[in-house]
């Protein structure tokens, strides 16, 4: 039987506030255990939560960026369950009226544009961290993370493959960084994904029973975990069994998902409005000022790259896929916009290749955008050819100086003197009479041979366009 995969994602993004969502303790990562867990975070008797204005502002920012309806009156609820890293015995979250309602986001998969619906996004507090391997007979609890503001972004079950799910997750990840509300650090847990996965026979309207996959902390694992779960469900259904609705933990080491039975019994959270928190009201003025403060969004930037810089759809998509990449690219365009296509090629080509090879991120590049811009300028004004430029670029990466310095010290300046090139062309023709005959008898391809020979004679410095013209002229 042919199956169709149906995926919805729940993304937990830590909002990059200085203090926690309901207390004035710091949210800094990596501090001494429990040094940032105050009385409110510990749920000591008598404490009261007070909502952080920045958490609210950042949630609104997200909502506006995905064109969502903002609930200008929203409510906090208690989600009740017992776990040692949840000191109060409930998590403050939003159930009935979340801050962000329905929105949508556009993704491109294999050249096809697809709209993924966002069901809602709500504010909640993060839990602490349980450490199971520090002591033999105890679980150790660090509550520094307890109370860190989270925005849980829930998608519609609109994705049909692991690839689409990863593309969507990356898109959200990038957007959060564009609008500056989450640092996106997956190793530190600032951005976490749960995937709801089910399958159904192709053509069937009704959704299959879903499993919820947890504990996925990289895009690679997201793809693997989903594919693994799809296979598991197919095996069950094809053998005539039925999929249980359950939470499953992805184990990246064993490459398997396994049932988390303990979660099932507790899956009755008895939500009710938190009496400690009044309804939140968002004024029209606040909405307007946040809207005005939004930076250019990826989708807008992409459209501008196409319209204003003449980039193609693919290049514009790649260059806007990450804020840091777009920032780098735009920095190369300063006083150099006429070479935009060339800059794009270099950023996506040589630069990305070297970054990959050295396992560096774009903001760790050893060549600054300004330095690359100068190199591209020198290609644009015919000082060097694109081929020579690759050597110059490598030397720049090795720290040998600026493009101009390297071109000068290595004597790489392109030969543009017609007389000089002409002499070499004459030599080349004189030394290769057999090939000249071939060319004259109609073998046009042999021209490449002459170009190669002449280039070799000039150590690659001849202006290729000029060289080609002269060769053609002299040969015919």
């Amino acid at each position: 039987m042919e199956w169709e995969t149906v995926i919805g994602l729940e993304i937990h993004a830590q909002l990059s506030t200085k203090s926690k969502i309901f207390s004035s303790a710091s949210t800094l990562f990596g501090q001494a255990p429990n040094s940032q867990a105050c009385a409110v975070d510990l749920g000591l008797p008598g404490v009261l939560p007070v909502l952080n204005v920045e958490a609210v502002n950042k949630a609104i920012k997200f909502g506006l960026a995905v064109g969502a309806h903002i609930n200008q009156r929203n409510i906090f609820d208690r989600k009740n369950y017992f776990y040692p890293d949840l000191p109060k015995g409930y998590q403050i979250s939003q159930m009935d009226i979340p801050i962000v309602g329905e929105g949508e986001i556009e993704i491109t998969v294999d050249g096809e544009v697809k709209i993924v619906g966002i069901t809602r996004a709500h504010l909640e507090e993060d839990a602490g961290k349980s450490v199971h391997d520090m002591f033999n007979e105890y679980t150790a609890v660090d509550l520094n993370r307890a109370g860190t503001p989270l925005l849980e972004i829930v998608s519609e079950p609109d994705m049909r493959s692991a690839k689409e799910a990863v593309t969507y997750a990356k898109k959200i990840h990038s957007l959060l960084q564009y609008i500056g509300i989450c640092d996106g650090n997956m190793q530190e847990g600032s951005f976490r994904c749960d995937a709801n996965v089910s399958i159904r026979p192709i053509g069937q309207e009704e959704l299959g029973t879903r499993a919820e996959l947890k504990n996925i902390n990289s895009f690679k694992f997201l793809e693997r975990a989903i594919n693994l779960e799809v296979e598991r469900q197919q095996d069950i259904l094809e053998e005539g069994g039925s999929v249980a609705q359950e939470t499953r933990l992805y184990d990246a080491v064993k490459h398997e998902t396994r049932s988390m039975r303990s979660k099932e019994e507790a899956n009755d959270y008895r939500y009710f409005p938190d009496p400690d928190l009044l309804p939140v009201e968002i004024s029209n003025e606040l909405m307007a000022s946040i809207k005005a403060s939004l930076p250019e969004l990826p989708v807008e930037k992409k459209a501008r790259f196409i319209a204003q810089l003449g980039l193609n759809e693919y290049d514009a998509d790649v260059l806007t896929s990450q804020k840091s990449l777009a920032d780098y690219f735009e920095a190369t365009l300063e006083d150099n916009e006429k070479n935009a296509k060339l800059c794009a090629n270099w950023v996506m080509g040589e630069l990305s290749a070297l970054l990959n090879k050295n396992q560096l991120e774009i903001d760790q590049s050893l060549v600054s955008p300004q330095a690359l811009s100068l190199l591209v300028t020198r290609i644009g004004d015919d000082t060097i050819s694109g081929k020579i430029a690759k050597d110059v670029f490598k030397a720049m990466w090795e720290g040998e100086g600026s493009a101009d310095e390297i071109i000068k010290s290595k004597g790489l300046k392109q030969m543009t003197d017609t007389g000089e090139i002409e002499a070499i062309v004459d030599d080349t023709i004189a030394n290769n009479t057999a090939q000249v005959e071939q060319f004259k008898s109609g073998n046009e391809k042999i021209l490449g041979f002459f170009v190669g020979q002449a280039m070799k004679a000039t150590q690659g410095k001849a202006n290729p366009k000029l060289l080609n013209e002269l060769l053609r002229k002299k040969l015919s």
């Binding site: 203090s19 255990p33 008895r270 409005p273 009201e281």
Partner: protein, 95 residues
């Protein structure tokens, strides 16, 4: 609406309450009496009325995003049942 003893027992489990048989019976009876009282509200026409989230007619005041708390972990841990390596210790939880 009324609750069965089995439902009350399930609620007690979720709240980590241990009830003896007689407590279960009493609680079921009491809870159903309370629900019966609340059920009288069903007679009121509530179409078009926005559910109330809070009895106070006020909205939430917001706090500036400023860190003012200092590290008091030593004080807090002095009253904890068990601590080690600056962590709160609890019986092993296995996932």
């Amino acid at each position: 609406m009324s609750l069965s003893e089995q439902q009350v027992s399930q609620i007690a489990y979720l709240a980590r309450l241990s009830l003896s048989d007689s407590e279960l019976k009493d609680n079921t009876k009491d809870l159903n009496a309370i629900l019966g009282l609340a059920e009288q509200l069903g007679a009121i026409e509530t179409d078009g009325i926005e559910p109330m989230a809070h009895p106070l007619h006020m909205t939430q005041r917001l706090r500036a995003d400023v860190v003012t708390e200092v590290d008091q972990s030593e004080l807090f841990q002095s009253i904890a049942p068990n601590v080690g390596n600056h962590h709160y210790l609890v019986p092993t939880v296995i996932e």
